[in-house]
């Protein structure tokens, strides 16, 4: 975590400077009547720069490397699996549609990633897709992408 803090502090510091610079360069700091659109963002950028500098000092002085925070082994597989499946679900939604997408997503997570039995995975997937359809499509009338099945 110490290294993450050092790297994070440097990135946040640069971000703060950039944010303040953009505010001064492109927006009005002080207009005819008072503060303009660049005033508040400029000071936010300054605040971020100062805070990130504090964090950098803190992390530089820290003697303890701290706990590892990046998941490993089974944890990493689950993290990447859930995230990857979610991204794929969203990216494929225009083609799959909400109902089929939900079913496939849950089967991937529950059967492939978590090794639940087929009946459990299918049951949860079908039940969730049905409830989701009832709440969002039927009750709230959210127009989800229809996809290949037409619903």
């Amino acid at each position: 975590m110490r290294r993450a803090d050092r790297v994070g502090a440097v990135l946040l510091l640069l971000f703060g400077v950039w944010f303040a610079a953009v505010a001064l360069r492109y927006y009005t700091y002080w207009g005819a009547t008072g503060p303009g659109s660049g005033f508040f963002p400029f000071w936010l950028g300054v605040a971020m720069t100062v805070l990130a500098a504090f964090l950098l000092v803190q992390a530089a002085r820290e003697p303890d490397p701290g706990p590892a925070w990046i998941p490993r082994g089974r944890g990493a597989v689950r993290f990447l699996g859930v995230l990857g499946a979610s991204v794929a679900f969203v990216a494929l939604m225009p083609w799959l549609g909400m109902v089929l997408g939900t079913v496939l997503f849950l089967i991937v997570i529950l059967r492939v990633l978590e090794r639940h039995s087929w009946p459990t995975a299918l049951g949860v997937a079908a039940g969730t897709a049905a409830v989701n359809w009832a709440v969002f499509t039927w009750w709230l009338r959210v127009p989800f992408p229809a996809g290949v099945l037409g619903f």
């Binding site: 009005t28 971020m48 995230l83 679900f89 639940h116 709230l140 989800f144």
Partner: protein, 505 residues
């Protein structure tokens, strides 16, 4: 209109079938969300926000407030039976609650918690009802300097009390304020920080951020932790749950003290139910004639914090409704919801939207009665829900995050934002930044900027105007003190202690 006429109006709204149904749904889901480790009231409110688009704002807030109250009841079940807090406001209940359960007294522990919660929740609503109109009337005199000072105080106190690293808390806050700058500036019409992307002109939407940080982010953070849960077997018949005369004699003053303390702490900006429950436990141990029993199954050690967190959750609604400043992460997300529904919280709310406010207050009375019945009579149902494997729960939450994020504007762009903030939320949680402070800042950012700019326009001495008017001077000084204390402490001691994130309640 006097208090009783207002209350009558409130009950006439709360007793409509749909609002009763929403209160019922809120308390059941809230108890479940409170009981299940891994999701707490913030996630619950963020996940249910999309459902409220289909109803009136009054029904929406009734459901969310009932959920918040319910989660305070439900967290106890997990603390007592599994020794794992269901949500952060029940952390301290584990100490004596689990010990009671090990000694075969899980029933009375859950019973006294439910009864204490009911008393505290109901008294909390009475105090909320009495105090809010007064506070609102006082706040009516606020000009831009006072408004800005108040927001500054709200932001800094929530942030300062969050997590173990204050610097990271403030970084999270400034990041939230920066995100709130994206899009059209309402005063000048400038499009700021959009990177030329059309979708960014409307700004960073609150809902995808809240769902991403507290829904997907929590799931991802939980995905690499194996939760092993062993549920103690216990009997939960009505006779097993009702506390004995001796239990009651020991607990009643603990409940009273917890209620008063909890409400006061809840009203203060920045300190929510979690801090209230810790304080109540500490106080109870101090005043007890047998402090050595604490940690070994003292019933006061359950009664006091469980009362305090319920009173605090009612108290936290006071500054949210009357000043537009949320006292905790959950009320911050609720505040974002209010704004999405087009309701402007603040001093005028009580005059402009009486049915909203009084419907909410009346519903909270009803919700507490429902919760007492649920948490005395239906404990086995919630214990069964705890047996649902985390992997299934997690997958369901992700589906709900995706559908919910889509349903506000029917745009995949929002779902993309939600995914991005899910990853950001994961990183923030792992590295001790504060998603709660970011969310609060995102909600308050545009309002704070406008108040500051207006204050500077009417000022002829620059920012000094904040110190020239008495109320804003006091608030500003308090806010600066809130910033200075933890930053100074953090710089002196480079190593912090581990503590649960109090703003997560």
């Amino acid at each position: 209109m006097d208090l009783f006429a207002n209350l009558a109006l409130g009950f006439s709204i709360a007793f409509t079938p749909f609002n009763l149904l929403m209160a019922g749904a809120g308390v059941i889901l809230g108890t479940l969300i409170g009981a299940l480790p891994g999701i707490g009231p913030v996630s619950g409110v963020a996940l249910l926000l999309p459902l409220t688009f289909g109803m009136s704002p009054t029904s929406g807030i009734i459901m969310l407030a009932a959920l918040y109250a319910g989660s305070m009841y439900g967290g106890t079940i997990t603390s007592v039976l599994i020794n794992t807090p269901g949500e952060s406001a029940s952390v301290v209940t584990c100490l004596d609650g689990y010990q009671m359960a090990l000694r075969g007294r899980a029933g009375p522990a859950l019973g006294i918690a439910a009864i204490g919660s009911f008393i505290a929740g109901t008294v909390g609503v009475v105090l909320l009802m009495g105090m809010s109109p007064l506070l609102a009337r006082w706040a009516l005199s606020f000009g831009p300097p006072e408004t800005f000072a108040l927001m500054l105080l709200g932001l800094t106190t929530v942030t300062g009390l969050t997590g173990e690293n204050a610097v990271k808390g403030y970084i999270s806050m400034v990041l939230g304020l920066m995100l709130s700058m994206v899009g059209f500036d309402l005063i000048s019409g400038d499009a700021r920080y959009t990177g030329g992307i059309n979708e960014m002109l409307d700004g960073v939407d609150f809902l995808p951020v809240a769902i991403g940080l507290f829904g997907l982010g929590e799931v991802l953070a939980g995905a690499d932790q194996a939760l092993r849960m062993e549920i103690l077997n216990a009997r939960y018949g009505l006779r097993d749950v009702l506390p004995s005369a001796a239990d009651w004699a020991r607990s009643r003053w603990a409940i009273v003290r917890g209620t008063v303390l909890g409400f006061v702490v809840g009203v203060l900006p920045g300190a929510g139910p979690t801090i209230a429950s810790f304080l109540a436990y500490t106080v109870e141990k101090k005043v007890s004639r047998h402090p050595e029993e604490f940690g070994r199954g003292a019933i006061e050690g359950v009664a006091a914090p469980e009362s305090a967190n319920n009173a605090a959750s009612a108290g936290a609604m006071v500054p949210m409704l009357t000043l537009g400043i949320p006292g905790s992460a959950t009320t911050a997300v609720m505040l974002g919801g209010l704004m999405m529904w087009g309701i402007r919280p603040g001093p005028l709310l009580f005059e402009k939207n009486p049915d909203f406010v009084w419907g909410l207050i009346a519903s909270l009375y009803i919700a507490n009665v429902m919760l007492l019945v649920l948490n005395v009579g239906f404990i086995p149902v919630f214990v069964r829900a705890l047996r649902v494997p985390y992997s299934i729960l997690m997958a369901l939450i992700v589906v709900f995050c995706i559908t919910g994020a889509y349903s506000q504007n029917n745009k995949l762009w929002d779902v993309g934002q939600m995914l991005v903030f899910g990853v950001i939320g994961y990183g923030m949680k792992k590295l001790d930044y504060s998603p709660a402070a970011l969310t609060l800042a995102l909600v308050l950012g545009p309002l704070a900027e406008r108040a500051l700019r207006q204050a500077l326009i009417i000022s002829d001495s620059g920012v000094l105007i904040l110190f020239q008017r008495p109320i804003s001077a006091v608030l500003t000084v308090l806010a600066l003190a809130a910033v200075a204390t933890p930053v100074a402490r953090a710089l002196l001691a480079s190593r912090g202690r581990r503590s649960p994130d109090p703003a997560n309640a």
